[in-house]
């Protein structure tokens, strides 16, 4: 177990001596997840501030997080790699959005919105929820629930993007969010698992109820 896991378990064991071992283990895991998320977000804000796009980097992170919560996707093997990858991706997407918003016209963004909507829906239908070795998602009802939730989260994020595009004209935020969606959809595909050398857990046979 990594240091963050050991620290979380120590804190929980110290404050919750009267709880059962199972409960302590679950709470330790919960604390670890909160800490990883907080460390990630702090890193994104700090590096985002350094390169001048903190708000765009956080926008991308929020879009990724909303969909990822249900669709899953490949995972880094340690929390340090997780923080690094999360920071590089979100700040990179923020920078890209900041650069592109000045060099492309609004019509292109509108086309991108529709493209992401169509291609994203197909990929979510095909690959969500994407399991990982540590959590392969074998139960059929849960997989169905997560696929439906993935669609809902995806449509909500895009609805917000469309609304921002049409009403507020904050194109850099729209692009940043859109890039976050594209990245997140990419992480559920077998190609992403292959590129990042991760074992792909196939969970697409929902109708058959088969997990391979």
């Amino acid at each position: 177990m990594d240091k963050l896991g050991l620290l979380s378990n120590k804190v929980v064991t110290y404050y919750y001596k009267d709880y059962s071992d199972d409960e302590q283990e679950i709470m330790g895991y919960g604390l670890r997840m909160i800490l990883v998320t907080v460390i990630d977000l702090i890193a994104i804000v700090i590096v985002g501030l350094m390169v001048g796009v903190p708000e765009l980097a956080v926008t991308a992170a929020i879009s990724i997080g909303i969909i990822r919560r249900f669709s899953g996707g490949f995972h880094a093997s340690t929390y340090v790699r997780c923080a690094l990858l999360g920071t590089v991706v979100c700040v990179g997407l923020g920078l890209l959005a900041n650069y592109l918003v000045m060099s492309i016209n609004r019509g292109v963004i509108f086309i991108l919105l529709w493209l992401v909507l169509m291609i994203g829906a197909i990929l979510i239908y095909s690959y969500a929820p994407a399991g990982v070795k540590e959590k392969p998602l074998t139960a059929l009802p849960k997989r169905v629930r997560l696929k439906i939730s993935s669609f809902i989260a995806f449509f909500i994020v895009l609805l917000i993007d469309f609304s921002l595009y049409l009403m507020l004209e904050v194109d850099s935020y729209v692009l940043s969010s859109l890039f976050g969606v594209v990245w997140q959809i990419f992480t559920i595909t077998p190609l992403a698992y292959k590129l990042f050398n991760k074992e792909y857990i196939r969970v697409d046979s929902i109708r058959k109820g088969v997990s391979r």
Binding site: E23, I26, Y79
Partner: protein, 40 residues
Amino acid sequence: MKVKEVVAKLLKRSAEKNVVAACGAGNYQPELPKALKEDK
């Protein structure tokens, strides 16, 4: 309800809700606790 119990609930919920996606921005998924491995 005591603060301690509220925090315990929050931590349990964090663990249960994170079974698919470990963290929003990043991509870390450590091994699940035994009690959460039951796929419901």
